[in-house]
Structure formats: structure tokens, C-alpha cells
Symmetry: C2
DNA sequence: TATAGTTGTCTATATCAATAGACAAATTTA
DNA sequence: TAAATTTGTCTATTGATATAGACAACTATA
């Protein structure tokens, strides 16, 4: 059994090249587990027939995925799958980065990329229940699991109340631990809004993606158990590596 | 104020044509509310400068969106926004199609596209807690709001227990009402797994999308209040028209 | 009623995407 | 070892994408 790559479904003159569409299909098949790690892809000629395209077009798709580190091609043998199934990232009332991926990865951590103080934009102010323009601290972070980037997030905190949270984050590598230093032992996810779009240039660089990739975007507010907003965040997840599992709240 | 279309972020030789990327950016800007209905887009020359492309490339993007019914171009005057902000589709313990969109739309309904009886696949069987191969009824539906398709779903029900649910659905146009005929007055969302991918040919046709569009995909299990699985479903939402709002359970 | 600003159309050219065919190079199998 | 299978490379051709420039057509306004 060679995996279930959908029959045709290829759109011409769509603004998306055929090789990119085929690469997406292969990525998706791997992501949902149709190909296990090290499994062989069907030969190029077979794929070309299945999609109704020229063999060279299939080769373009494959070589893009080889560049991305998803496939490995071996002359005379075949083309093999390197990456694994998508990670399942839980989202619920007590969404935490590290605990959520336990069991699926051997190692995970958060890197603080940058931090700054800035006046709250309209949506940040709304989310945190502050006046627009109030000083807030922005933390830019990247989540990594087994060496692969799995999330890219910006978090905003009221500057007056959480002065120094950037330093705490740099030290501890954990939002939860950093908030604990400000007397916050527990917090809940109040709201999450979810959307998807093509990765932009920043996403491509931060998450090590190739052009044309899709990112899942969550915009969320975390509150203390008594309902006080403490964090507004926007996170981006590479759709080809991560799915979101909505857990009971 | 002309709206905040992101500065550049255009990727060349990415497999996605420049005009498609620019169309996506305009769609996104409209979707998040940067342009209100009837607002004028910046002139073509301005957009071309902003993205660092030729005016003709911008025109390709715009004409694609005109074909999609998102924009209206008027010679001598400008190009104007027709579509509105994204709908916000709530997902929670009591996710229901109709009630969820109340207040955002004046009209919404579900169309039954097709139904069939089939042996349960591995994942359907797992979701419903049945043996693989058990007969299940599949209902293919499309959700529409104010005349625009907003969702495309497949739902699976155990055939023995819910014999005739296809007729009920055709009559009532409501899953909730159909389940009521089988003595199910309440049901809860047990699990939801969320992902995103490019729309395939079926999605394009069913949801009236253009190639290159992105769909949000949810795979969910609904259960009775005492935890008995009754429905397994896979839904697809056009990311350019819908965002998902995860509500408290 | 000019004039400036905007979209629409045309021609020409260069580059990317896709097809077609042939054959080389490496690996596995009979 | 020979044959079959599979990936790698090359040449050539066609159509879609993107750039460039010029000017027409229409609208609003000074």
C-alpha cells in the first residue's frame, strides 16, 4: 500500500503552480499519517499519471519538499518520507505550551526572540481592557519541539503591572513561570479566535517554512481565575506541522 | 485612511503567482475589517508601488477578486469593496449552525446535498465507537448565510440507530431537529481537531471559491450528555469568509 | 471647461511553469 | 550478469506570468 494521495484535484491557471499544489497534497498526506516515516513515495511516473501532469512537474514538487527537508530522494531506489505526522496542539481553558506536547515530543522549549514596550493598539487595548495607548510589554517568542519550530507568538502584558516580565521570560523560558513571579499561580483561556492564511515573509523566516505554506492563527486572551485579563496573544502555527486539538474547557 | 495593506511580503518564484498573493492580501485585509463595505481600495498605481510589482500585476489580482464578487471596479472612479467582514463561527460544547450565526446574518440555512449508507472507515468507526465496517449513514451538507456558502460538512451516524435521518434532515434542514426525532434532545461537542489546507477541487465547487483559497477543517465528535457518541463530522470553512470563535464550554 | 486622477486596453518583451522526449546513473531483482 | 525499476540531467517547445510603456475612456473637481 502506497498511501492515499487524492486522485486528481489539480487546478490549472489558478495562480498556484501545479508543482506547488502537488507538493501541498504530498505534505497533507504525510501530515494526516498516510505515509509513515521512511515510507517510500510512489515513483514519479506513477504520481505524474495520477495527477495528470508531466513527470517533470512532479519532480519540481518533490525537489521543493526535498529542499524543505520533508523528503529524501535516492537515485535508483526511490523517494522517502523524512517528517512525521503532525503534532496535535491542545487548546483549552488551561492551554500551556510545554505540557500540551508531552508524549508527542521528547523535547520542547520556548525561545524569547524580542521584547519591547509600546502603546497598546486598539485590539490589544480591547483584549486587555485597557485604554488605547496604555504602555504594554510585547514578548515575541518561538516554540520549538524536537528542534522544529511549531509556533510563533506575540504576547502583550500591561507594562505597569508586569514590569520585568521580559527578563523573567528570558530566564525561565516559560510564560507560566514568569507570571508566577507576579503572583499569578493560575490563569485561564478566556477567548480564542481562530483563522488561517498564507504565511507571510516574517512567518516563513520565523517558522522555517517555504513560500505558499499555510499558518493557523489564534488570537486569545488569558485571564486570572476571577476574570481579570492579563495577557493578549496572537500565535501562528505552521498548518503542515501542527493541528489544534480543542479540549474540554 | 486607505486601510492597512501590509507593506511588501511578496515572494517570488514560490509556486504562487504574485497576483494571487496580492489578491490574498486584499482579501485578508477586508476579512479582518481594514476595509469597510463600499470603501475604496488605493489606486492601482499606489498598490503596485507598495508591493513592488507592475501595475498590470495588481490589475490581475483585482480582476480575480472582481470575478469572485469581492470587489467592484469603476472606470474613472476607483475600485470598491463589496464583501463584508468575516463571519465569526462559534465552536463550543453546544455548537449549532443556525444559532451561532444569529446577529451576524439575516438568513442562514443548511442544504442537504447528498446522503448514503456506507461501511464505517477506520476513523469514523473510532470516532463513533463502532466496529470498523459497521453501516453508517453519511449526510453531506452545505451551510449558507445570506446566500453565501460558509461551510461544507460530512456527518456520519450509526445506520441502525438513526435509520431515516437523511429524510428528516431533508425535511427539517436541521441536524438538531433531526436528532430530536430520535429522542435526542441535547448533545455536546466531545472533541474537535482543527487544521487548515488549500481548498481542493471539491471544496472550490462546493464553497464557490477560487483556486488557491484556504479552508479550515474541523473533525469533531458529538455525544449525548451521558457520553454516548452519536455523530462524527468533518467540516470545511472558507478561511477568507469565516473565522472560528472558540467559546467556553 | 480644462485638468488631474483613475480604470481600461493595446503592444512588446522577458522570465517562469509545464510538456515532451531521450538517455545517463544508480539500485534492486530475476 | 542481465533486465527492470527508479531517480537525475539535458534539450526543445509552448503557454502562463510579469514587466514596460503608451494612450484611451471615464469621473470628479478646480
Amino acid at each position: 500500500m502506497v498511501g492515499r494521495l487524492a486522485a486528481d484535484n489539480i487546478e490549472r491557471r489558478s495562480g498556484v503552480s501545479l508543482w506547488r499544489q502537488i507538493a501541498d497534497k504530498i505534505l497533507h498526506a504525510i501530515a494526516i499519517g498516510d505515509f509513515t516515516e521512511n515510507a517510500a513515495l510512489p515513483p514519479e511516473v506513477t504520481l505524474a499519471e495520477r495527477y495528470g501532469v508531466n513527470r517533470h512537474t512532479v519532480r519540481s514538487a518533490i525537489s521543493a519538499l526535498v529542499r524543505e527537508g520533508v523528503l529524501r530522494a535516492e537515485q535508483g531506489r526511490g523517494t522517502f518520507v523524512l517528517s512525521r505526522k503532525r503534532l496535535s496542539y491542545p487548546i483549552g481553558a488551561r492551554t500551556r505550551f510545554s505540557t500540551g506536547l508531552q508524549g508527542q515530543t521528547t523535547e520542547r522549549h520556548i525561545v524569547l526572540l524580542a521584547s519591547s514596550v509600546e502603546p497598546a493598539s486598539q485590539r490589544v487595548a480591547e483584549g486587555l481592557g485597557l485604554a488605547r495607548g496604555t504602555d504594554v510589554i510585547r514578548l515575541e517568542t518561538r516554540g520549538e519541539a524536537d528542534g522544529r519550530p511549531v509556533s510563533r507568538a506575540a504576547g502583550w502584558f500591561e507594562a505597569r503591572r508586569f514590569a520585568g516580565i521580559d527578563a523573567a521570560m528570558a530566564q525561565t523560558g516559560s510564560i507560566t513561570a514568569s507570571l508566577a513571579r507576579f503572583g499569578i499561580d493560575d490563569y485561564l483561556r478566556q477567548s480564542t479566535v481562530l483563522s488561517a492564511r498564507h504565511a507571510d515573509a516574517a512567518d516563513l523566516a520565523d517558522l522555517d517554512l517555504q513560500p505558499g505554506a499555510i499558518v493557523l492563527v489564534t488570537v486569545a486572551v488569558n485571564v486570572t481565575p476571577d476574570g481579570q485579563p492579563i495577557q493578549f496573544s496572537e500565535s501562528r502555527f505552521p498548518a503542515e506541522r501542527v493541528e489544534l486539538k480543542l479540549s474540554a474547557l
